[in-house]
Symmetry: C2
Subunit: 365 residues, 2 copies
DNA sequence: CCCATCAACCAAAACGTTTCGGATGGCCGG
DNA sequence: CCGGCCATCCGAAACGTTTTGGTTGATGGG
């Protein structure tokens, strides 16, 4: 009871008060000022639920975080979430967050938010190849934008970072360093980004006429990275370079390399993906790939706002380049073990570097 | 229009339909079943805004994330947020998240959520010594529970992890290792947890009759950790052990130690706080302190639910112990540089360890 | 002087629930 | 046969807003 209260104490009707605060032109300037003063005085703020009930729109956006090992505690997500939250606030939208692990609970979370009309739309992150969420949202015409693509044939709004191009470029960089056996430590193949990164690795090797090196996949955790790297290093002909789908996997791999008595960056090269804050401080500092999380968050919100404004999803299909951040964990392939290693140690980058350059050229919008 | 629709298609009144679904006893079993069947058939779900408007409660909880350097991308927060979200879902409550940097924007975020009655209560994280949020929330009687304490004299519900006891125990451990110059790299002193950790360090040193070692503070980032550690190591009498308020600071410190040509865990001991996933994989693996994030999230929600149920905040003042996780970054103090170092390298823990033990005994509830 | 125009205001309906205070009819005890 | 009780159901109000379709009274043109 609050528009009512202003109306009563000013001897006006609720309609006039509402329209005065709403900025309509059919209220006298003097009246508007009186209303605004009174609203200020009693600390009036519209009741969100009432407005939502009446308008039919909730002015809120939902994000369902994938929980579970290697997913939820990913710093990437917090950054994305923060960016989304901050940008939404600028549009006076709320951000409703739920955590659920992929599967039944996850769909229940989406249903909960959608069916109670708690949100007007969704931002879907960490897409999977066959992603039930996308189909479900498309089926009921719920507005959404995805961070990442899927195998879904229907068109939907999305923004993705071109991990395929980035990993192809990283692979070419390693080939340029003289590496011939380049292994891959991937996140679960069901995740779309794993699929793309593997494809980039594969394509660059094929283009150079090289066979795919050994590869393995598992949860994107340090522990898995360590186990998988240990396994790959035990092969008869171990790889001289390892591409890791995430920095957390790479951190584990670096550890395995140390345990094996090898020197990362010299005996074996490692490249990660994410440019986590900690990756500057691994030993050696990790060469990695950085994606523009904050800008992506802004753009996702921007796209979703357009959709809520009635735009067609078909127009939104951004693919942004990632950026290679060279540090000290990669370098020239080692000479054969029976040859002396000389002449190259000074050339490789061996200090943390602030620089970086675009690694991909494709930027289709 | 949906209770209405069920009512119409069943020839019942809206009241009866509402009470049937609400589980009231004054509706015949047969009628209830008919209503439930019809609700299921048309996929009925109550309109959240309507229910909120009528009931006056929003069934939502707000969390305002502190953004800004060294705060927002902290994995600790994502874990906490995930735990809170999951537990709230069990209570059929929503979690509304906003990101704002401490200061004006932050208070605006709280106001936005509170004044539009968007949330029934708040969970306040990362408390500061003089925390305007606490006073503001107390002033308007808004239910909330804090993760961490403040200097606020009035009583309010909170749960804190006893960082003071944990850092005192860590300091005693270092003293037991023979260290006599134990430095501290702290997060900004305005943060309450920094204050407590420093107090624990100070108390344990005093108790052993040792002077406080050199200390410094700054943003809780790796970079700051590196700079501050570099500075402390340049002193005329550099510390032989460094206590770091967070693992991210510790990671930077380890790096600085490496640059200085020292071996962490041997020439100088380092202990962190947080037990980040990556901390098992630093070089050397980091001895650190672990706090029970998931359990804390559950308990915070539990407390807030009690408050919303009308409980008095006065009863809730949990202080939980943290757990020391010994790894390889600390160990016996180095012998004087002119004496040979022998006999002790085999005794110190030098492998990542899963174990750990309670480091504090206080657990007041 | 009358009618059209316009500025300023307003009553009432609607959004979908929950809940208060009955209303109805069947059954039982006296 | 009557009064009361119980099980079951319902009308209407209320929550606070926005919006539709007005009404009122002043002003100006013809």
């Amino acid at each position: 009871m609050s528009l009512t209260r202003i109306a009563r104490s000013l001897g006006l009707s609720v309609t006039t008060v509402s329209r005065a605060l709403g900025g309509f032109s059919d209220v006298a300037a003097a009246t508007r000022m009186r209303v605004e003063a009174e609203a200020e005085r009693i600390g009036y703020h519209p009741h969100a639920a009432a407005r939502r009930l009446r308008s039919g729109r909730s002015e809120a956006v939902g994000v369902v975080l994938p929980s579970g090992p290697g997913q939820f505690d990913d710093p990437f997500f917090l950054r994305l979430l923060g960016g989304i939250g901050a940008t939404l606030a600028g549009h006076r939208f709320d951000l409703i967050v739920t955590a659920a692990r992929p599967g039944a609970t996850e769909m229940a979370a989406y249903r909960h938010l959608a069916e109670g009309r708690r949100v007007d739309g969704f931002i879907v992150a960490r897409t999977r190849q066959h992603d039930a969420r996308i189909g479900w949202l498309l089926d009921r015409g719920m507005p959404f934008v995805a961070h990442g693509r899927t195998m879904e044939p229907r068109s939907y709004a999305h923004l993705d970072i071109d991990g395929e191009a980035a990993f192809a470029a990283a692979t070419r960089r390693l080939i340029g360093f003289g590496h011939r056996r380049i292994g891959l430590i991937n996140a679960p193949g069901e995740l779309m980004f794993s699929h793309h990164r593997a494809a980039g690795w594969h394509a660059a090797l094929a283009e150079a006429g090289l066979p795919p090196g050994p590869s393995a996949e598992g949860e994107a955790t340090e522990e898995t990275g360590m186990h998988l790297a240990t396994r790959l290093l035990r092969a008869a002909e171990p790889p001289t370079a390892l591409l890791c789908a995430t920095d957390r996997l790479a951190a584990g791999a670096l550890h395995a390399i140390g345990f094996a008595g090898l020197r990362a960056g010299q005996d074996i090269s490692v490249i990660g993906y994410d440019n986590l804050p900690l990756s500057t401080y691994t030993d050696p500092p990790l060469t990695t790939i950085e994606q523009p999380i904050d800008r992506a968050a802004e753009r996702l919100v921007q796209i979703l706002m357009a959709l809520l404004g009635g735009a067609s999803p078909a127009g939104f299909a951004d693919l942004w380049p990632a950026r290679l951040v060279p540090r000290a964990s990669d370098g020239p392939a080692p000479a054969r073990s029976n040859r002396p290693r000389t002449g190259w140690t000074l050339q490789r980058p061996n200090r943390p570097s602030r620089g970086g350059h675009d690694v991909t050229g494709s930027n289709k919008t």
